[in-house]
């Protein structure tokens, strides 16, 4: 049994909003501390928030274009680079 399109869309919207709210928190931490790592996290979570509903919004087109998951991949790579840069800066 699969979930209906309304429920699927609702949950996807909830997840997308969650990522964007998380990005807002990271922006707050960045402004409070000046730590650039938080800014990188904010950008990454914003990318995740954008990427989350794309497969659903693009429908059949999304199924044919797995490259849209590159946005999600870019978010994770951004975080890896930010953490590594922080570690290098510490040394």
């Amino acid at each position: 049994m699969t979930e209906g399109p309304e429920l699927f869309g609702y949950i996807n919207g909830f997840l997308s909003a969650g990522f964007v709210v998380s990005a807002a928190f990271f922006i707050k931490f960045w402004r409070r501390t000046g730590e650039r790592l938080f800014f990188a996290f904010a950008c990454a979570f914003l990318l995740l928030g954008i990427a989350q509903p794309l497969p659903m919004l693009l429908g059949e087109l999304g199924e044919q274009r797995p490259e849209i998951y590159l946005i999600r991949l870019a978010a994770f790579i951004l975080i890896i680079l930010a953490v590594l840069a922080k570690n290098v800066g510490r040394r």
């Binding site: 699969t2 949950i11 969650g18 998380s22 931490f29 797995p66 590159l70 991949l73 975080i79 890896i80």
Partner: protein
Amino acid sequence: MGKHSAVATVVYLLCLATSAACAGLLFRAWRRSHTRLLLWTALSFGFLTLNNLFLVADKILFPEIYLTPLRQASAALALVVLLYGFIWESER
């Protein structure tokens, strides 16, 4: 393996690998600094790694099985953990 191309397979596997790397780096950073926000973020990325694992399973390994609820639940857990951490740490 389903209808997906080699490019799609690589992209999904890279998402899994990079999210796991994020979780690992964040756990290591937390162990060094004991900053609680890092712990919550690391746990969140653990769940995002699980989400990507389900993505790989859904698209590549078991396309005939309906795994969307597991994908959504793991992403939701990632966000709940992270937002709980944000709110808890803001009160300290």
